[in-house]
Amino acid sequence: MSFFDPQILSQLPAASREFANAQPFGIVKVTDDGTVQMYNTWEAEMAGVAPRDAEGKNFFTQVAPCTNNRLVFGKFKDGVARGSLDAEFNYTFTYRMKPTNVVLRLVRDPKSKSNWVLVGKKN
C-alpha cells in the first residue's frame, strides 16, 4: 500500500502550491533535467530546506545530493528519456539532516510531461 491516495496522481498535473502544501507527504515538481519547480512545505520541513532555497536548483545534485546516483537520478533520467516513469522504493536520507527512512515515488505524467518526486515517511 502506497503512502498516498493513488487518486492524487491524476490531480498532480494541475496541482497548485496550495494543494501541494496541504498534502501530508513531500511533493517536488521537477523539470526534465531535475530543476525544482515546486517544493511543498512537508518536504521543506522534513529536509530542513526552505522552498525558496530549493526552487530553481537541481533536486538530485544540489538539494538532495544523496539521490544523485543510478538508484534515483538514473531511474529518473531513464524514465524521462522513455517518456514513462512510475517507480516506488525505500530510501534513507542522511545528507545534512537527521537520518530519515522514506519511501520515494518517481512519477511522470505523459500528457503534461511534468515530473514529480513524492516522498513519504517510512514507519
Partner: protein, 143 residues
C-alpha cells in the same frame, strides 16, 4: 583572517559537535560504545585535517589541500550513501552504522564546503557526480 584560522573556526564550531551528538542520540539501537566510536571516527577525520592545516604555512597549498580533503570526504560519503541505499532498495533495510556514518560525515562536509570557493565546490561536485560519463560517451562514439 588566515585560511587556517577560518578552517579551525568552522570545523571546531561547537554547533557541529552538538549536531553530531543530536544525530547519534537518534541512533536508538546503538550502545554508548558504538556511539562513542563513531563520534571518535568523525572527529579524527576532522582533527587529522586540521593538524596538517596547522603545519602548512603556504596559503595556496592549504587551499589546494582543503579542496583535496573535500574531494576525499565527498567521494567517501557518496560511497557510503550508495552502499546504504542499495541495501535499502534491495533488502528493505540497511546497516545503521553506515546510516549514521553518512549523516555525521555530511555535516563535516557542509562545514568544510562553507570555507571553499563556491565555484570550486560546484566543479568538484559536477565531476564527482558523473566521473565516468566522458569515458562512456567516448566508447559510444567509437562503437
Amino acid at each position: 583572517m588566515k585560511l587556517v584560522d577560518v578552517l579551525r573556526l568552522r570545523l571546531t564550531d561547537p554547533v557541529l559537535e552538538v549536531i553530531w551528538d543530536e544525530m547519534l542520540a537518534g541512533w536508538g539501537t546503538a550502545s554508548d560504545e558504538e556511539r562513542s566510536m563513531l563520534r571518535g571516527w568523525v572527529r579524527r577525520k576532522r582533527d587529522d585535517f586540521l593538524a596538517f592545516a596547522a603545519e602548512c604555512v603556504d596559503e595556496e597549498e592549504l587551499e589546494q589541500y582543503a579542496a583535496l580533503q573535500y574531494i576525499e570526504l565527498r567521494a567517501h560519503w557518496q560511497g557510503i550513501n550508495n552502499r546504504l541505499n542499495y541495501a535499502m532498495v534491495t533488502a528493505g533495510s540497511t546497516d545503521p552504522r553506515l546510516v549514521y556514518r553518512s549523516a555525521l560525515m555530511s555535516q563535516l562536509l557542509g562545514a568544510l564546503e562553507g570555507v571553499l570557493d563556491p565555484a570550486s565546490v560546484s566543479r568538484i561536485m559536477t565531476f564527482l557526480s558523473e566521473p565516468i560519463v566522458v569515458r562512456r560517451r567516448d566508447e559510444e562514439a567509437a562503437a
